[in-house]
Each structure stands twice: as C-alpha cells, then as structure tokens.
Subunit: 359 residues, 2 copies
C-alpha cells in the first residue's frame, strides 16, 4: 500500500490529521500507521530514528544545550462507525480526531519540517496508550530504552483544547472493608451487620473536605469518593462483609506513600487495601524550555486533574505538560471531533516556540 | 420398584424416618416419594385421598365437630453427599432428617394408624417447599383446591426441636435507592455521589430500635436490616445510583400494609420499592384444638421468628403452629441430623393428643 503521508499531506496539519485519522489504528493494531510514520521519519536526513514494537523515536542531535520531547500516541479507542473522517464546517469528525491524531499531526509535521530547532528534540510516536499500561509504548520504552526519554522538558499532545495543562494529579484506589457476623435475618440480633457498619465509612467520606493546592500557579483540586460498594449474600442473611472501593485523586505535592498514609488515617479502624496507584506529576514549569513554551502560548496554565502519561516523565525527573488541539470532552465519544482552527493555532504556537533561536 | 413403606416400617417412626430419607426427593423430583406415600394412604380404608401434582391430601370424614390439619413437605434441599441416612448413637444423619422427613414420618404414621381420631383430620404431604413459592404444593392447593385446607387448627411438622412455635413473623424486602449525578472521578465536584448519600440510609438502620411484641404469651422480636448493597459503575466514575436491599421481619400484629407504611416512614425522603412480602401469622392459640394440643405437649409456646407455610393457613383464617422433632439449626446443613428421642417423643405427643376422646 502506498504511503498516504505524501509531502503535500505533510505540508498541511489539517490534511495530515485527516489522513492519519483514516489509517485505522485501534490499540494493538498500530503496525500499518507505525510503518507509514517510520517511512516519513527515516526520509528526513536530520533525524535519527529507532523503533520498538510499534513505537517510533526520532531525534535531532544538534548539540543544543537543552532537549525537549514531543510525544503522542498512535492508537485510538475502538471505532464506532465514525470513520472515515468527515468535515462539517470548522469541525472534523472521526475516531481519533481529538484523541489524539490532531496532536500527532502537529508533532509529525514539526519533526519533518523544523530541521534547525531551538532545542534538540526527541519525537515519540507510541502505541497502546488507550489500554492497560503493560502494553503502553511509553511504558515499554521506559523499561527497555529509558535513554530515549531523557530531556529537560516534555510535551504530551493529548487533547486539552489548546490549554496548557501542567503536571497531573495522582490517583489511588483502596478497598475499605467492614466485617460482621452472619446470621439468619429472622434472628438478626445474633449477627453483626457489616453493611450497617459501612455507614460510618460513608459518613467520613461525606464529611471529607478535599484540598485545593496551588503549585507553580496551577490549582489542583483533590477528591475522595466511593466509586463502588458491594455487600451482602442473600435476601435473608445478615451480611458479614461490605467492601467500599474508594478513589482518591491527589495533588502532585503528595507522593503515593503520603497519599496512602493519609487514607489510612481517614479510614482508621477499618481494613484498607491499596488496589491501584499512579503517582501524580508536579507541573515543573520553572524549567527554561517550559517558561519559553508558556511565553509562546501566551496563556496561563492550569493543573491537569486527570492522570496522563506525563507522570511517566515526572517519574524520570522530567517536567512535562499536556497541550493539544483536541477537545477532551469528546474524546472516546461517537461524535469525537476536533476544531480545525485549534489545529492551525496549535501548529503555529509549537512552530513559533521551536523555531525561535534563543537570545 | 417395590414400595419400601412396608407395614413393619410404618409401625416405627424412627425406621419410617430413615426409609423416607433414603427416598431422594429434592424439590421438583418428588414423584417417586409421592407415589409411595399415595399407595400407603389409599390402602387405609378410613381415609379419602386426592392428589394434585406431587401433593397428597388424605382426610377422615367422621363427622367430628372440629377438623385439624397435619402438614409436611416431601421435598428436601439438594443432597450434599449426605445420603443414605446413617446413625451415630442417638443421632440420625442425612439430607431431610431434620427438615422434615422426621415430621412427615410422624404425620404418615398417624394417618395410617389412628383410625378414630379425636377430631377429623386432614393430612397434607406436599411438594416444593424449599424453592420459589410458585411451585409450593400448599400454595398450589390454596389456589386450585382451597377446600382441602379448611380446618379449625393446623400443625406444620417443620423442625422446631419439639418446641411449639406459634404463628410466624412476616417478612418484607424493599429496595431503598439513592440517586446522584455521574462525573469523572478526577472532577468529582461536578457530580453527586449516590454511595455517599446511602450513608444516611445506613445511619437510620443502625439507629433503628426493633420492636419486641408479645401476643398470646409468645414474644415476637422484629428486625430491620440491610441485606445487600450495590452501587457504582467503574473505578473512575462518581456513582449516580446506590441500591440498598432491606429485609424487615415484622411481628404478626402488623399487616403487610402496615409494615410497608412503617418502612416508608423510616426511609422518608428515599425511593422505596417493595420487592417481596409475605405476611406473618398470629399465633391463634385460643382455639380449642390449639389449647388441647398445648395441654398434650405440656410446654409453653414461643413465637416463630422465621416465615413458614403456617401463614398460608393464617391467610385463610386458620390458626396454625409449627411443631416437629427436627433441629432447625442443622436444617439445610451438610451434617443435618435429627435426635432419635425427639422423634419418639413427638410421635407420642401427637398420638396422645389425637387419640384422646374429648370430655
């Protein structure tokens, strides 16, 4: 199959987005799109290219004092009858338009066209972001080729609607369990009702005052919530167990260990089991490339509330933020779309930032 | 297959129990045992016999001023490697020994041997008590042949360990539902957490003071308990619904309507849906045959806390009580058993009561 990523397509970020969208690349089926992108990257003499599975790394090596990463995932959630891409006025509809082939298009265009960037740049186009971490291309690179990720600053082109979303909050799930003693419900006083005991856990959650933390001018707003509850055996049995799954979204000034300690304090007296944790990422906006990027955008950053792959960079000590043209509110939706002017504005912002030769 | 219910077997209530236990009769597989019992009943010239499905009715028609019912179900819960019956000292082990072939044995022996009872007697041996009501032989009779149940007093030979358990409590299940508004748990303040809202429902349950009611000298102790709770959609979603299934066991001085009104009061402000109800039964111990039965037993009756088929008689205005040799604490257990002396004592008590010719 001829590579649809022709020079004419690469010259226009909107057309490039459309063509990338029309190459289906549901998670774990990214081979074709990765082949096309690899071919384009290898044709650029200023880039050194390497591949791991369906993840591509391309880098300049100009001896600049600083290096930045631009990263985007190639995969999408499953198609929902929303391909090929179609236009409706200023909107381009289709699976992956927002999350995040419009972002990938911006990075790919810069990779090919900006031969003399202000910093050395590492471009990462990776696989399997939309599924379990174990398949995530960025995770796999961090395990096998961590040197690919080394940089002073990283931008993930996740959909943010053109807003700079810095760092990200951590997320922790714990199972809080209450216990009791089973009995027939006709003689309930012989038992101890574990569901009734859960009332106190829910009372603590209702009364919990979540923190709002400001870091580098970005506000992070925490949340502590029961997301699932389950207890009971049968309609005539006093239950001896009730499990409340609690999700804690915590500001990045707290480590995973501190978050756990906090939850153990909140639920003192109950059995608390951590079932899932992903640490947050500090915004790290004080690094020079970050400051210069913010100047190019000309906009106040906000704290990222959801968890994203920026925390993989944070774990390596690399400040990272999210910035992309897509609208996060329609990501994964059947009517997923991106606004064409947002693609053009993003392309200009990034090019301005990368092209300016520092003072 | 030859009928194992020979005259020698019928002459001894313990041997009769053993033989009945060894005829497997899990719910909906009662045909063979019903055939054997029918043959025995039809051979007794003083009985008029009728059959509905695998339920048998046999009655005397001696023109006595009063009629009593003796009833027992032929089915058992599924066998759990606990057949055939075996003896260990004074204990007979096996599926159905307690619940309730020892009780069936007492009634069947009386049916065959007491040709001149003090009252006219209707014996009922019925199917499918251990499963959903719609299959219950007593329920089916009440729908198609209610005249079979007409009597002044009824005894169910359910396991009571030789204690007279009068009437029974009612049981009602309601679903109490809380609602909220879904949101991503990273932006929890945009949602309303329905599981947190359930805390107040559990608080009311924890603080509930259950009534203890005395009727005809029997104490009925109520209970109001959450038996199941379920809420939540995913680990990252603020839940918009939580359902708490509540079981109310209520004393028989309350009707089903009064019980429902009470629960609507307790859970005021919440959505309450009645999912299941079975009214209780007043002990009705003032009827003459009941008084004479208590005199024969020579023991103080207690209130029945669990729901049993006695309330089917109560619904027809017939006072009813539970009295059987089995131990209710081992009913349905793998180590189900009955004490041999309890069988003999029960047989003697019932025979004494039925055989004495009134004043």
């Amino acid at each position: 199959m001829a590579n649809p990523l022709t020079p004419e397509v690469l010259a226009d970020p909107v057309e490039l987005t459309r063509v990338l969208v029309d190459v289906e690349s549901v998670s774990r089926e990214e081979r074709v799109i990765a082949d096309h992108v690899e071919e384009v990257l290898r044709a650029a003499p200023h880039l050194k290219v390497a591949r791991l599975g369906n993840t591509l790394m391309a880098r300049t090596d100009l001896g600049r004092p600083q290096r930045v990463v631009l990263a985007g995932h190639l995969d999408t959630v499953p198609i929902a009858g929303n391909l090929p891409a179609r236009f409706d006025g200023d909107l381009m509809y289709g699976c992956g338009t927002s999350d995040m082939k419009s972002g990938v298009a911006l990075a790919l265009q810069l990779a090919v066209e900006v031969t003399e960037p202000r910093y050395d740049v590492t471009y990462l186009f990776y696989e399997a972001e939309e599924i379990e971490s174990v398949y995530n291309g960025l995770f796999l690179v961090s395990q096998t080729n961590p040197e690919w990720l080394e940089a002073d600053f990283a931008i993930l082109l996740e959909p943010t609607y053109g807003v700079v979303e810095a760092g990200c909050q951590g997320t922790m799930r714990v199972m809080v369990t209450t216990t009791g003693r089973r009995a027939h419900s006709a003689r309930s006083w012989r038992g101890v009702n574990a569901i009734h005991a859960a009332g106190e856990v829910l009372r603590r959650l209702s009364g919990y005052e979540a923190r709002r933390v400001e870091i580098d001018g970005c506000e992070y707003r925490e949340g502590l919530n029961a997301v699932r509850i389950n207890g009971g055996h049968a309609g005539n049995v006093i239950p001896d167990r009730c499990a409340i799954e609690v999700n804690y979204r915590f500001a990045p000034d707290r480590s995973a260990e501190e978050a756990e300690a906090h939850l153990r304090e909140v639920f003192e007296g109950y059995d608390v089991l951590v079932t899932d944790v992903a640490p947050g990422a500090l915004p790290g906006l004080t690094a020079a490339p970050a400051q210069e990027f913010l100047a190019a955008v000309g906009q106040t950053p906000v704290g990222k509330l959801g968890w994203t792959d920026v925390s993989r960079f944070a774990a390596l000590g690399i400040p990272a933020l999210n910035f992309g043209p897509g609208d996060p509110n329609v990501a994964h939706a059947v009517d997923e779309h991106v606004e064409v002017p947002k693609i053009r504005a993003g392309a200009e912002t990034l090019r301005r930032w990368l092209s300016v030769t520092g003072g």
